[in-house]
């Protein structure tokens, strides 16, 4: 298996290990979001509960063809402003073996749930501003016509190419008999360059392995485990809409929600065409600080 964990990872620098350790330690602080589906890329209609702050560290490791192995951590801070509005900030970095470790940028996003009740299909509106350079390897979403050939370019050159863009998503999500089905339609426009609108998509389905709760507290119980699958990729641009010259990935995914603890997620993401990386190994952990806003209130 050429793309699997290979010797390339052994060459990741001490700076990369320090970077990942810093991200992990920063996020090692809170209770799980029990109803969050186990997705990395696809959004569902689940918003952060009001007043809660969720800290998530998610990481990608890969060794694409003809390029150096890389490790890309992303740190997310997600806050429930109200029951219908969640705000989020991201910090991103990456380390490439035989190259360097770089900070690649930040993102701010908000998600709004416009309808007050639960329906068969629940829409959520997503808006994002991102300021990232081309060394970004977070794969948080894929839009436009891209390929992994950009990964062959050294970080020193890529980090000088800054892209500021706005992004909108229409998130559709359904909960049926324990299953969650989510679909995201993505549109992105660079605001500092004259590039056309770029499009992408993500779809996913998941289910807890057991729907009933048990009478004893446990960690490795089936109701704490959920499994699913994601499919995501680019859809070209306004002038070249379609799957041609886009990256496409399919991924089984699994999550463990520990009671009053953390959520751990894992997913191997398989590239479906020659423009995609062979396998992206994605893993993450989440901690939720419950009622974070109470820390700043006087009365108890």
């Amino acid at each position: 298996m050429v793309y699997a964990f290979s010797d390339g990872f052994k060459q990741l620098s001490a700076r990369a290990i320090f970077l990942s350790a810093a991200f992990v330690l920063t996020s090692w602080t809170a209770a799980p979001a029990q109803q969050d589906p186990p997705y990395f890329v696809t959004y569902s209609s689940v918003l952060e509960e009001p007043g809660n702050l969720e800290i998530e560290n998610q990481n990608i490791a890969a060794k694409p063809r003809n390029t150096n192995a890389f490790f890309a951590p992303t740190l997310e801070f997600e806050y429930g402003v109200t029951a219908w509005w969640t705000a989020e900030a991201y910090l991103q970095g990456q380390a490439t073996s035989n190259d360097s470790t770089v900070f690649t940028g930040y993102r701010f996003e908000s998600r709004f749930r416009p309808l007050p009740r639960e329906y068969w299909i629940n829409p959520v509106l997503y808006v994002e501003y991102e300021n990232v350079n081309n060394a970004d390897r977070s794969f948080l979403e894929i839009t436009g016509n891209t390929s992994t050939s950009i990964l062959e370019v050294p970080n020193a050159r890529l980090r000088k190419e800054l892209e500021r863009s706005i992004e909108g998503k229409l998130i559709l999500s359904s909960n049926v008999k324990g299953w969650n089905f989510s679909e995201n339609i993505i549109a992105e426009k660079a605001v500092n360059e004259s590039e056309p609108w770029e499009f992408g998509y993500a779809i996913a389905a998941s289910r807890p392995l057991r729907l009933k709760g048990t009478t004893r507290s446990c960690v490795l119980c089936l109701q704490n485990l959920s499994a699913g699958a994601e499919l995501f990729g680019g859809l070209g641009t306004r002038y070249s809409f379609g799957l041609k010259q886009t990256q496409q990935y399919a991924a089984p995914t699994i999550a463990l929600n520990t009671p009053h603890g953390m959520t751990f997620k894992f997913s191997p993401e398989f590239g479906l065409n020659d423009n995609s990386a062979g396998v992206l190994w994605r893993f993450g952990m989440t901690y939720e600080i419950q009622q974070f806003r109470d820390w700043f209130r006087r009365s108890k």
Binding site: Q35, P37, S44, V46, N175, L211, T215, H260
Partner: protein, 130 residues
């Protein structure tokens, strides 16, 4: 213009006050109101519900379900008088403009177990204890 904004704020405040008084109960469709818990009379349901409550609900409503800050107590006349179906409807849909998120992502079976636990808190011989 200023008058319009003022009227909007007054209307929004009135809606919030109304919702705080349990006006969500009026929104529950008849079919939902009449739903019966599949866990009614199931001995372990309240015990399982207590754990789910502790993981998901206690952060706002308190470990003892007596409410925290401005978040309501679940040991109340209103909850006692509500039907299982009405509470199930609230858990599924939430009351988002009053701060209660929906819990539709939690499997329905677990929502019913939480209701069994809330019922045990409001029964004359109260509750499931740890």
């Amino acid at each position: 213009m200023k008058t319009g904004v003022l009227l909007l704020l007054i209307t929004a405040s009135a809606v919030c006050v109304a919702a705080a008084n349990g006006s969500w109960l009026k929104k529950v469709p008849k079919a939902d109101r009449e739903r019966v818990s599949p866990y009614s009379g199931v001995p372990d349901a309240a015990s399982a519900g207590r754990l789910i409550f502790s993981d998901n609900c206690a952060k706002c409503h308190g470990e003892d379900a007596e409410g925290k800050r401005n978040r309501p107590s679940l040991r109340s006349e209103r909850v006692r008088n509500a039907t299982d179906g009405e509470i199930a409807w609230l858990l599924k849909n939430g009351n988002m403009f009053k701060g209660m998120p929906n819990w539709s992502g939690l499997p329905e079976q677990q929502r019913w177990q939480v209701i069994a636990y809330i019922r045990s808190l409001n029964s004359p011989v109260s509750g499931v204890r740890p």
